[in-house]
């Protein structure tokens, strides 16, 4: 008997954190994340969740509390958006460098200036290189399930995980979500067992200044230098795709829902024109693919769930057979192109797949993106590709650029 409720993305994330039996939460409210922080504090105040909610004066402190609590062995959670995430920037690096399995929700919102409270993904995209695993969700069920999966992934590879979902578009839209059985979640996600716990009984110095070379410690043991420690973070993230896929597979076995480990495909069996993106825009693209199929264009969608580690190997396989690729992104690396576009093209370098790729920047600051508009853009690119236009500058969808 499934327990389905109609809920917002923020509610789904809160339930995911509750079912994961988090022990410490520190978050600072910011639109569109606020509701998530409020619901979690209600759970704790009402005794539904046995955890400590640490109130802080800002996001830098929120993540610092999570880092500290994780260091002493607690399972921790935080959430933020936009400028709040950027205020955490220093500590994002610290959390990853400390190899702490922190899970955070980034409720994606555009970044000021100028101020916007509305959705795009510039916030999390711009934190790509902090060493966090990033997973993008396409509906509220996926948000709830991914928060639970994220702890299993984080605690397996000792790297923090950012669960990203589109602000307002998902955070404030209600839809049916099946709530997993808490007992099954307990089996799927056993209590966190930290490999190192800082405690007064076992005092240690963590993350002291390291010198360029490996050095013996006071007991004569040769220890990693900065570069070895950083290499290990890279190695952990390189290992994580297998863990993410295994977690997704196991989740599907237990709960009967498979959101696709690293990526997912829609009508890809014979697709020639492949649309791709992350989050809700990839979901919207499924409708666009149906429209194009009705016109006789063999269109499909590859939805990219995991942006870091970048699943280059999986995506090379997923895009096999594509004769044209259209990438929709809610963010940009200013002065060049969308970060996903660059990464995807790099993945194909030297491979058989040399399909033309066109990059559309869409939905910045909450500008609405409809399936019809995605279909129109993809069709226009498809026509251009037929006439040999392999490369072109980024196209700003629904934007006055004249």
């Amino acid at each position: 008997m499934s327990n389905v409720q109609i809920m917002t993305g923020n509610q789904a994330a809160a339930i995911g954190a509750k079912l994961s039996s988090v022990q410490v939460i520190a978050a600072y409210p910011i639109t569109p994340q606020s509701q998530l922080a409020e619901i979690l504090s209600q759970y704790i105040e009402g005794g539904e969740l046995k955890a400590e909610y640490v109130r802080v004066e800002g996001e830098h402190s929120a993540l610092t509390v999570c880092i500290s609590a994780s260091t002493v062995g607690a399972r921790v959670f935080t959430a933020t958006s936009a400028n709040g995430l950027l205020y955490m920037h220093e500590q994002l690096h610290w959390a990853a460098g400390s190899r702490l399995p922190i899970v955070m929700c980034c409720v994606n919102r555009g970044v000021g200036a100028p101020w916007t409270i509305f959705n795009d993904q510039q916030d999390s995209i711009s934190q790509r290189d902090t060493g966090w695993i990033q997973i993008y969700c396409r509906n509220n069920q996926e948000i709830l399930d991914t928060v639970i999966q994220a702890y299993r992934i984080a605690e397996e590879v000792y790297a923090p995980v950012m669960v990203c979902y589109d602000g307002f578009v998902l955070s404030h839209t209600m839809m049916p979500v099946a709530i997993p059985d808490p007992e099954l979640v307990k089996d799927f996600l056993p209590p966190y067992q930290a490999h190192t716990i800082l405690s007064p009984e076992d005092p240690r110095t963590l993350n002291a200044v390291l010198f360029p070379w490996r050095r013996a410690n006071s007991e004569g043991v040769l220890c990693d230098g900065y570069m070895e420690m950083r290499y290990k973070l890279q190695a952990a993230l390189e290992r994580s795709p297998a863990v993410i896929e295994e977690t997704s597979r196991r989740f599907a076995e237990v709960f009967g829902r498979d959101h696709g480990g690293l990526s997912w495909g829609y009508r890809m069996e014979d697709a020639e024109l492949v649309m791709t993106g992350m989050g809700s825009i990839a979901s919207e693209a499924m409708q666009a693919a149906d429209m194009l199929r009705d016109e006789g264009i063999k269109a499909g969608v590859v939805g990219i769930r995991v942006f870091r580690p970048f699943p280059a190997k999986t995506l090379k396989e997923a895009f096999r057979g594509a004769k044209g690729i259209v990438i929709f992104e809610k963010g940009i690396s200013y002065g060049y192109e969308g970060a996903l576009c660059s990464d995807l093209k790099a993945a194909f370098y030297g491979s058989e797949n040399q399909a033309p790729a066109h990059n559309y920047i869409a939905g910045l600051g909450g500008r609405d993106v409809k399936a019809r508009e995605l279909a129109d853009a993809a069709r226009a690119s498809w026509m251009e590709m037929q006439t040999g236009i392999v490369e072109k500058p980024t196209t700003w969808l629904n934007c006055y650029t004249g």
Binding site: N119, H172, T173, P176, S283, D368, K370
Partner: protein, 189 residues
């Protein structure tokens, strides 16, 4: 897929109405339902909308509704400040809380029109908030009658899920009254 836009003013409960409709429709065995507020900040008294999508299959699109199949208007004065017709498809259903007779809407021949005096029903059943009648729940009754998409039984369940037993009961009495008193005019050819 049925797309519904709720037009009201901040404080009238359009967001809650859109949510309750989604819930009732899900209970009605529509597998796909979504409800969304107007994204962004809200102000009491300002015109605003909320939306509900209802479909047989799970919904994959989250963009704004362009032209709704059904528009529900909680406050008649909105016709003067909002272009309600620009976001309702031709032949669509327009459900209005009004005390003016059906003939008033003769010019809108290309729409199905449903009218109900939700203000009067709310006040009769002592549903008021800060002196203003609570019309969002009665309009669910009008919606059920005019659209035929959801049953009163499922609206009652959705109400009871959100409200206390006493409140749920009182609101449902108003929902039933609105259902009975709603008058529907088919579109004119």
């Amino acid at each position: 897929m049925y797309e519904v836009i709720w037009h009201g003013r901040g404080g009238q409960g359009v967001v809650v109405a859109a949510q309750m409709l989604a819930e009732a429709a899900y209970l009605q065995e529509f597998k796909g339902v979504t409800s969304a507020p107007t994204f962004g900040p809200e102000r009491r008294g300002a015109p605003l909308t909320a939306s509900t999508r209802i479909a047989q299959e799970p919904i994959r699109i989250f963009s704004q509704i362009v032209e709704a199949d059904i528009a529900v208007v909680l406050d008649e004065s909105l016709f003067k400040v909002v272009d309600i017709f620009s976001r309702l498809r031709k032949n669509g259903l327009l459900i209005i809380n009004t005390q003016t007779p059906l003939e008033t809407w003769d010019e809108q021949g290309e729409y199905r029109i449903a009218i109900v005096n939700a203000d009067g029903i709310a006040l009769k059943h002592h549903l008021s908030k800060e002196g203003a009648p609570v019309v969002n729940t009665p309009m669910l009754g009008a919606f059920a009658r005019a659209s035929g998409l959801v049953s009163l039984e499922n609206i009652e369940k959705a109400l009871n899920h959100k409200l206390s037993k006493e409140q749920g009961g009182r609101n449902f009495t108003a929902v039933k009254a609105a259902y009975e008193e709603t008058i529907v005019r088919e579109k004119k050819d």
